[in-house]
Each structure stands twice: as C-alpha cells, then as structure tokens.
C-alpha cells in the first residue's frame, strides 16, 4: 500500500506536463518530422506519397519561381526592417519625452491599434482604401504624385506598398519595446550629461542609443524573422500578384500545396525557409549574448 503511493507520487508530476507535451509533440515535433520525411517524396495530398529521393532538393536549385519568391522575401525584409527600426525608435524617443502629456498617451495608444488588428483586417482595409477611389484618399496620395488605385496593380509598386503596410502595422509593436527600455534608463545619466554641457543630440547619440543597443538588436531580429514569414497581408491584398511579384516563400509553399498539388515539394521549400529562419535565430543568440557580456 505504502509503496503504491510512492510510485504515484513519483509519477504524478508527469501528469501535469502531459497535456502540453502531447500537444507540442503532435503538432510541432510531428510537423517537423513530417516536413523532413515528405520532402523526399512526390505527394499531392490525394494519392499516397511516393519516395523520390533527393529529387525535390535538386529541383530547388533550378526553380526560378522559388528564386523569385526568395527575392521578394528579401526585398520586403530590406524595405520594411530598417524603416520599422528607425521609425519605431524615433517615435519611442518622441513619446518618451511626452509620456505624461495627452498627446504622448494618445500617440502611444493610436500606434498600437494596427498591432492589435488581424493581418486580414489590415489587408482588407488598406485594399479598400487604395482601390476605393475616395476623393480624400486620391488627394492625399496625389500630394506625393501617386495614384492609389494603381499601386497594387504594378509589380514594383505592389511590393513597396505591401512593405509600407507591414511597417505601418508593426511600428507600434517595436515602439512599445523600445519605449519600455528607454524608460528604464536612469534619469541621473541624463542629468550628469546636462551638467557637463551636452546638448540634446549629444545626449541622444552618446547615451540613449548605446544603452538602447541590445533592444534595437532584438527588434531588428524580431522584424527580420517576422518579415521572412509574411503571408496573410499578401494573401488578402494581392494574392501574390501581379505575376508573382509579391509571392513570399510562405505563400509559395501554400500555393504549391493547395493550388499546385505539389505538397512534397512544398515541404522541401518550407524546410529551406525553416533553415533560413534558424540561421537568423542562431545569429540573434550570438549577438544578444555578446551584447549581454559587454554590459
């Protein structure tokens, strides 16, 4: 009797971690295993998969569409990430110096509204705004010489527009992260600098920026990782077009599976993207560690 109770008390902790372990094992580990196994097969999700060795991996090298999708993903990253970091940092600095004013609070709350919204909602609203032909919208875009109804129809302007909407959607997110680390800089640093006669630009570039560096690096990596995985906004706004000019890698894997009947190859493409993201994550870990050891 006593022994039985002992076994139970040894086993009972495992009961607490079983539900989440089963879920993660099935859906995350299961998906990773499936992705690796099926990437060596020809599979169209209807008939059983057929092993075809390294065929899919060889195909990666000559797939010009994949090359274009990687380029599109790189373009979005190069356009969106620097703007996200620059704008969010500038806004955080502006809001920090007005944190108790009505304007500061209003700006902070407003910037967060796009962050809260579903990508599907963001895509739908912006599409309606751009294509709706509202006189006020046409007027505002006309000020900078643009016709809003044409933006999504042209390969070059479509991907720029998407990148800008991604910036619009997430700048508030990075702003909040930067703001919270700005607030943690002790006031006496600034006071000491002011006593020494530093002007506000000196203070910003010599004190604020160096102390923010770990946060800015974190934001940069978060932004890169999320821009590599863009899907919903593209799906709702352009569907990948015109002529694949906005098809991202995730979008390509989706189309291969559900429109092209090439699920096996789609998983090979997913694995490539997975490796790319993991490389970025490893870089991030190294960078953050180095930063942490410097402080």
């Amino acid at each position: 009797m006593k022994k039985q109770k002992n076994i139970l008390s040894v086993l009972s902790p495992y009961a607490y971690i079983t539900p989440i372990s089963l879920i993660l094992l099935t859906f995350v580990a299961g998906s990773l295993i499936i992705a690796v196994c099926f990437s060596f097969t020809k599979y169209n999700i209807i008939t059983p998969a057929k092993f075809n060795g390294l065929f899919n991996y060889q195909k990666l090298l000559r797939d010009s569409k994949l090359r274009q999708c990687i380029m599109n993903t790189v373009k979005i990253t190069l356009m969106a990430v620097p703007l996200q970091i620059l704008i969010s940092t500038a806004l955080a600095a502006l809001i920090a110096s007005r944190k108790d004013t009505l304007l500061g609070k209003f700006a902070k709350a407003s910037l967060f509204i796009p962050v809260l919204s579903s990508n599907a909602v963001v895509g739908t609203i912006w599409k309606a705004i751009l294509n709706g032909g509202h006189p006020a919208v046409s007027f505002l875009f006309g000020l900078v010489g643009l016709d809003p109804t044409m933006l999504l129809g042209d390969s070059t302007s479509a991907i720029i527009t998407l990148s800008m909407i991604i910036v619009w959607k997430s700048m508030g997110y990075y702003m909040i992260i930067t703001l919270s680390s700005l607030m943690s800089i002790p006031d006496n640093y600034y006071e000491a600098a002011r006593v020494d006669g530093a002007n506000s630009w000196n203070i910003f570039s010599r004190i604020t920026i160096p102390l923010l560096k770990p946060t800015l690096i974190l934001n940069t990596f978060l932004a890169i990782i999320s821009s590599m995985q863009v899907f919903d906004i593209v799906y709702t706004m352009t569907g990948g077009g015109p002529s694949m000019s906005t098809t991202t890698m995730v979008m390509y894997a989706y189309q291969l599976t559900f429109k092209g009947g090439k699920a096996g190859y789609a998983m090979t493409v997913s694995n490539v993207l997975m490796l790319m993201v993991l490389v970025v994550v490893l870089f991030q870990q190294r960078f953050m560690k180095r930063e942490a050891s410097e402080i």
Binding site: R98, Q229, Y254, S270
Partner: protein, 269 residues
C-alpha cells in the same frame, strides 16, 4: 530654437497617430453605408445604415463564422490556461526526474516559426482525420510560451506557502488550485488576452484547415465573401469592424497588460 523642435516633434506624432487611426475610422464609416452607396462619398448622417450588422447578427453564413470564432477563441483560452498552469506549476514547484531537460525541450519548440510549418501541420491534422473540426482549430493553439509565462510567475511564489498547505494534508492539485492560482491571476490574465487575440485574429490556419462554411471563422469572411457575393464593400467592412472590436476593447480596458505582454514578446508584430 528648442521650442521649434518640440513643436516639430508634436506635429510628427499627430501625423503618425492620425495615420494609424484614420484607416479604422474609414472602415467604420464604410461599414455604416448601404452597399448601393458605399462608394458615394457624401457622408451625410441620414444615409448611414446598420443593415450589414443586422445581416451578420441575424445568423446565416457570416453569423456562423462569428459563432465559430467565439467558440474557438474561448476554448483556446481555456485549453491554454489549463495546459500552461498545470505544466508551469510542475516545472516550477515539483521535483521529478528530467524537470529542467523537458522544460528546455518544450521551450525549444518556440523557435519553430509558426507560419513555416503550416503545410506539414496540415498533413498531420489531416492524417488524424480532423479537417473541418473544432479539434483541429483549437488543439494546436497552446504554445510553450504559455508554460514559460506561468512557470516564471509560479517560481516567484515562496515555497513556505505550499509547505503549510501540504502539512494540512492538501494534495498537489489542491495546492495548485487554492494556493498557487489565486496568486498568479495577473499572469493568467495576460496569457488569456494574448491567447484570445491570437486565436481571434488567426487567419492562415483556419484558411487551410477548413473547407466549408459551417467551420470557417470571421477573418476568413473577409476573403471568402468576395468570391460569393461579388464585392460588397459595406458588408466586408462590417465584418472587419466586428473582427477588429474585441481586441480593441480588451486593449482599451487593459492597456498596461498589453504593454507588459509585448515586452515579453507575447504578441507577434
């Protein structure tokens, strides 16, 4: 000079704030116009109508989408709280072999980018025969992030509180329920909000795993409606408003929780 740069900063903030808010104002105004005059831009109050909202709430296809979204978001929150609190408690306070290693293993799953495994996840769930089921829409929602949050919160509770309950003969389950959980309500609330918003806003997974109207969720209405009813701008915008409102209302009520959660990287940008 200093005044001037301050005013310039004010203007930049006003401009950016309007840039963030006005598209949503446009969404709300468009949702209140009847479809016939959706692109007639003379905004007079008399031409506003609530017909799109009545249509959504009167049941039918979009009503069903809305109901599904509500069921999935609430079930997702309940399941996430259950799995995260039990596992977080075990990892923080119970001694068992492999505690640290299993925890690290679970945390490693957070490195797997969610959008990247969509296709293999679809194959897994399809293999289980769960296409077009609530199981498929709800069960993958909990993540290791929830376990991480709850473990951190529970680690902060002094062991003495648990010991005194244990001396009174309370079981682990009772300790969790009566001693621990009341003390980590704040973390549970943060986790609930982020899970709710994540599930509510989720677009890609329901898009992939549902094929019929009885299982679709509200964000999908934004794209599927176009094919079915031609483009009905007013109705699309009304759906956008309803998809947008719950996260927005939560934010208005619990602004500080959101900022704390973002600092923990709990909501995707």
């Amino acid at each position: 000079m200093k005044k001037l740069s301050h005013i310039a900063g004010d203007l930049v903030l006003i401009f950016i704030a309007l840039l963030c808010v006005l598209p949503f104002v446009y969404m709300i105004l468009m949702s209140l116009k009847s479809t016939l005059n959706a692109y007639d831009f003379s905004f007079s109050l008399s031409s506003l109508t609530t017909e799109h909202y009545r249509k959504i709430f009167s049941g039918g296809t979009i009503g069903r989408y809305l109901l599904n979204s509500i069921i999935i978001a609430f079930a997702g929150v309940a399941l996430t709280l259950f799995t995260s609190c039990t596992a977080g408690f075990a990892f923080a306070k119970l001694k068992f072999k492999g505690n640290d290693k299993i925890f690290l293993l679970l945390i490693l799953t957070m490195l797997v980018p969610s959008e990247v495994i969509l296709v293999p996840l679809y194959i897994v769930v399809r293999g289980l025969g769960w296409v077009n089921t609530f199981k498929a829409l709800i069960l993958p929602l909990p993540t290791a992030f929830g376990v991480f949050i709850m473990r951190q919160a529970i680690l902060g509770i002094p062991n003495e509180l648990m010991e005194s309950a244990r001396i009174d003969g309370a079981s682990n389950l009772k300790i969790l329920w009566t001693v621990i959980l009341p003390l980590v309500k704040s973390a549970m609330l943060t986790l609930s909000i982020f899970t709710f918003i994540g599930a509510w806003n989720n677009f890609t997974w329901p898009l992939i795993i549902t094929t019929n109207d009885t299982m679709r969720t509200l964000p999908l209405a934004l794209t599927t409606m176009k094919a079915q009813y031609d483009v009905d701008v007013g109705l699309t915008m009304a759906c956008s408003v309803i998809t947008f409102l719950p996260p927005f209302i939560f934010y208005l009520l619990l602004q500080s929780k959101f900022e704390a959660g973002v600092a923990l990287n709990g909501l995707k940008g």
